[in-house]
Subunit: 354 residues, 4 copies
């Protein structure tokens, strides 16, 4: 179980290193008969792409996806959807200095220990570039999930917090600014802060929030594969993620039952939604919402002390083109992973009853 | 994928409802040759058992486990380990009042929607009673993980927080008090608070922290099956869990890269450990630590308004024997799930290199 | 993947050794709402039981199954069905002589090589006793498959072949004789032959044929998980099986395309059925039929030369109570495994289309 | 489980239709550190390629494979190996006549029933063209299996049978003739027969035999995942296969135990090998051998009566470039699937003992 597949019934298996020939994957289990909007798939990929604004990495990657199977006359056929994104702008020489050095808080050293050696160019398989494949698969999943709306947005950058619940925000505004924060004033503050951090050669962490509307009741399995457990795993599998909470989250742990219980309205909806749309691991039809914490990017443009393969202390200076803050580009990735979880559970649900 | 199995190579499949005839499971993939201390397995189960102290539910459940296969002459044989825990003290009549009513923030209503009907006695499969099977499997996993130390403890009850890092605590003290908080003074405060909450007929949430020492480098797979993603899923699959964070967690999202990066010592260890012992999803040999947020138990001994199957508003009064705060009994469950994740990844790791 | 689970969506995980405390398993993924006839489950188990007639082993095993979860008020709930069969009549001392000896054509030696040691009592996990769990799971699967008729029967014993196609036989007669051959005359001849073989202290192989009627079109996946590939794996996983063929089988390899092609009638049915009800791995609604070859039981009541753990040549004399011919008791096992394959594919099929 | 993945620890997921843009796949779980001979991979693919001789289809397909990830500096890195084979010579218009017609003994009709519509060009996903991806994955698996020799060959074409056991043949001769029969005289007879069949516009079935030498003891799991059950599934998943037998096979079902038992030599090897190198589902170190029956190719160059989507009887004339007998080209596919099974079980075996 080398762990390059995600999902059971709607399953994606991905491949590709940062500086290899190509990235790509196979989506297996996508039901037949879905009309695929190829432009929309590319559009999702563009949202993730570097070089979109002054606050993200300036790498130029065309990131053009080719869907080479599983679609015929515009519709999915029920056979696997293979896709390929060629790598065209690798500056592999940028990385020759880390061939024998271990970057702090990167996976360089553990790769050598785990596999005996590593593709050191740009982080290899552990580069966030791998998430391009997830976004393609998620874009297909979204088209299967017609009627379900998945909206992620940046809610914190460093200590700057957007302290408003999602239902007091206009999430249509998320894409209107490079930070992907739906509150225009906060977005500007955050943008300024990220620019300052970049100038310092530093990086900063942040939080992506996500809300999902229109999920039918009954998704998720009640024991090990609770819907929020699968969402949690999906989010924690994204590069740089350190935490996940849904509904009331960590704040809920401070509450009393008499405050936290979501009482029913006569129509079966709930008055409050501390449950976050999931009860006992199963969706109840209310909005699902969760928060994902991202650590600061480990590559900084400052001198750092580190060690090389021989255990000698060396000085290292970050090179290459990196993001000062990862959360704006993480927004479409969070949505993609959420879409994959939901698509998989939509199919699983079909087996519940006779 | 009805989700009653956990793990791939070291896999447990469980069965059993709160008020059915028996609970149990199958552990498949436990390597041959492990000497099994049966007493230690029962001991773990006793740690989880109700009725241990005045601050947990007073239900009496003997919870005696029978291991009926896979062990011969005291050692695992490599064949599946079947186990059974008979249910002997079900007061099913306590639950007849909820046959047609939906308890707030329980899974009653979503079960009816998902499956068409439900075993309403004591929460059925969604009862925390199901975790007894996890504890048995985790106890076997712990014996496979000789040399690795997994220690969970209560770090918050409601708004009472034990604000000390794990390495300033003596975790040998955890089992010395009914709260399972290793700080004696805080434990007493917490215990008093839980008693007060119980008297009010209310419940309260809390946080379980966990630290794992002695994990070799190289556990975990770098993409979807990152070690912390699997730990996260494992924890989020426990009843009542709302959040998971490891290493720096949500606090790490507020930090700068220059603060957060874990610089190397000459011997390859790291000076700080914001990474929480995992880099790029792979263990690096440092301590793994994480926190798990539990919501307050939904069953309260107060009158609540709710609805019945016909959508009529009714008043409901909690009955039965319930925990006012779930975290003390959750401690061995957190450890069990961590053990299952590690055991599975120990086996997966054997496939890394030629 | 220690291989004690079968199926994906309708999955059974089994445990238990021949002379351990109990056998059993977990059926996970059985849809909710199936009315379960417990008597019919026990009845299937009785068909497999030893001691039914003079031509099978005279061991007495009550083989009483307890279904301990997943069924409520007579119907499946969608949660896992746990079941247990206590072992009550183990004469383990019958096996002390093989503790250090390797029986020819048994798994004794490979177990020692694979696992380092073995539970030598009665073949341990490799005993055909393990198939009792399969029969229970298959009996539940059959109840899910209402409308589909699975009928297996003995078509060969040694060189005695019933050379009639299934549609010239009255399969209602199968259970009327101890051989489970639907042709009364041939059944008698086979029975006499088996008695003769038993008197010689020898054993003999045979073939079980199976026909499945009423399978809807569209079961099976077109590439690796072809319906006949899953049936083949299921049958080859039964103890003592050496071969599997479906439809025209090995005889089909001698034919020309112009003879073998199944031409269509106007109503979409086919004039011939060399395809065996499966085309491109997918059921087409015609009868599915296949044949399964069983080798002679390895334990014979004659002196055989063999070796012990130390590689010394020793003489061995078969002891215990064994079948002279395995095929009569294999009939319900073949049906059970076929039912498991179909149940799993019935659920998989639900994901085919949007 | 749409069934486009094979294997658990050494797993390949494939994609691609006969007349789509490209075929390809992902190999996940290949251990790090294997030196990959890219030329050898292409060579295996060439063995499967059409147009190699006068007795196979004259389609020209360059079938050039690109390995785009998972290999660095000539060695596997432990990350997924993605590969792509572009489709360059599709004459899709050859297939417009079957858009609305169902070819006898093809999967056309069941695809429409299962998925609602189909990619009718060249059989789509059910084309044997899909096996190109299997051969690539198998070629990588072979390089992991250094020291294990897998040799398949044609042993029957129609009623022409090579009645010699594998150990009386010189399997080095297999590639010396277009039939891939290691007996030169029989190869010539078979070749003449295939040419005659082709001239008649007909096709014929055949049998591929395979022998595997050098397999260590202990591969395969004793219950559902017996080594021969996995080999059987692998073979039955190849297009046109109708049967599988290993060791004594169907002939073994006619034997007595006293004849069939493989007695041990003092060194632990066996005097005979009716077991086919596998006992109780576990390899014992002896040669593994098995036979695979292929039906005649369904597309014949003769007029056939069939039906169209509207259930009308129509006449159909085979077009396109097809094989008169599939077994010569099936030889590398059988080897590839055997290699995948062994590679997967080699990794599984690593979990057997503590």
């Amino acid at each position: 179980m080398a762990g390059n597949s995600f999902g059971n019934l709607f399953k994606v298996s991905t491949f590709g290193e940062s500086h290899g020939e190509a990235l790509g994957g196979v989506i297996d289990g996508c039901p037949a008969g879905i009309e695929i909007d190829l432009e929309a798939v590319q559009q999702e990929l563009n949202r993730r792409k570097p070089g979109q604004s002054s606050i993200v990495t300036q790498r130029k990657e065309p990131d053009q996806v080719r869907l080479v199977s599983g679609i015929f006359e515009g519709k999915t056929t029920g056979t696997p959807i293979g896709f390929i994104i060629e790598n065209t702008n690798q500056r592999s020489k940028d990385y020759s200095h880390i061939k024998d050095q271990y970057r702090p808080s990167h996976a360089d050293k553990v790769y050598d220990e785990k596999y005996g050696f590593r593709d050191y160019r740009g982080g290899g398989r552990s580069s966030a570039r791998e998430t391009a494949s997830r976004v393609v698969a998620g874009a297909i999943a979204k088209q299967f999930l017609a009627g379900i709306e998945i909206k992620a947005y940046v809610s914190s950058v460093g200590t700057l917090h957007l302290n408003k619940p999602y239902n007091e925000l206009d999430l249509q505004n998320t894409e209107n600014n490079p930070v992907r924060c739906p509150d225009a004033a906060m977005a500007e503050t955050m943008e300024d802060y990220i620019k300052k951090i970049r100038k310092e050669g530093d990086t900063v962490g942040g939080v992506v929030s996500c809300v999902i509307k229109g999920v039918p009741s009954g998704l998720g399995e009640p024991v090990f594969d609770k819907l929020h457990a699968e969402l949690g795993k999906a989010m924690l599998s994204i590069n740089a993620v350190k935490g996940f909470e849904y509904g009331s989250g960590f704040a809920g742990a401070e509450m009393k039952g008499s405050e936290h219980n979501d009482l029913f309205n006569a129509d079966g909806t709930t008055r409050s939604n501390f449950s976050g749309g999931i009860q006992g691991g199963i969706s109840n039809g209310e909005d699902i919402y969760f928060r994902v914490a991202f650590k600061p990017v480990a590559t900084i443009m400052q001198k750092q002390s580190t060690i090389n393969k021989d255990g000698e202390q060396v000085e290292m200076q970050g090179k290459g083109r990196h993001d000062p803050c990862v959360v704006p580009r993480a927004v479409p990735i969070v949505e993609a992973m959420a879409a994959l979880v939901l698509a998989d559970n939509m199919l699983t649900k079909r087996s519940n009853k006779i």
